[in-house]
Amino acid sequence: MTSGWLGKSRPYLWWLAVAMLLCSFWGIAHAPTEAQMGTVQKIIYIHVPSATAAYTAFFVTFVASIVYLVSGKGRRWDQVAVSSCEIGMVFSAVVLVSGPLWARSAWNTWWTWEPRLTSFLIMWILYGGYFLIRSSVSPGSRRDVSAVLGVVLFVSAIVSYLSVAWWRGSLHPRSVTMTPEMRMTLTISIFAWLAFYVAALVERLGLERTRERIEEQAR
């Protein structure tokens, strides 16, 4: 489906991502259990890496959109932007699903309208709008409109990321006290999910390129 170096690198990227995820799962199984929260704390090893990957994905969308707008409509950058945005949405969904399970144990509630949770949910909904608008505008202006959205919507990601610092009294912790083993496991998990993000992005790019090729053939 994908030609060139991108297609050739795909299996290696997947092997790397899977190997790193296996290391991460080994670390999660062997990391010490937190004294107060118990095993529920192990949600951190998927929650934080998924959030990191989501913010990274939206940042890539932001950069690719800017490059598209500046570089005189290089359509490859539009493909990167939309592919990265979609994967960012999936990572965000994992964050939104794993968060309440942790909150239930830590705060005794599934959901609370505190700044980080609210801004993250709003960000997710807004990026959902990116796809809604992209699919509803005419093919001629689709890329331009998407690029503008990719830039503008990144404001919501910045607000979400900095919400813990901006609004005092936020329930969501800025950092969690961890032992060196826990910190190491979290670091490995973050890198593993970032490798997974890159592999998924290449996979999704292949689909986008095939779609564009077919659209060109049909014209």
């Binding site: 994992v94 699903v97 794993s98 399970l101 996979e203």
Partner: protein, 38 residues
């Protein structure tokens, strides 16, 4: 323990669903490509 297991299981389900949707879309495009090239 249950919440942690549920979180990982749900994450696995989300990613499985996403990759299935990618496969489905790729198959649909391949079919479309065959029709277009005829």
């Amino acid at each position: 323990m249950t919440y942690a297991v549920v979180a990982y299981a749900l994450a696995a389900m989300i990613w499985t669903g996403y990759f299935l949707s990618l496969r489905f879309r790729a198959a649909k495009l391949e079919l479309q490509e065959k029709v277009t090239s005829r």
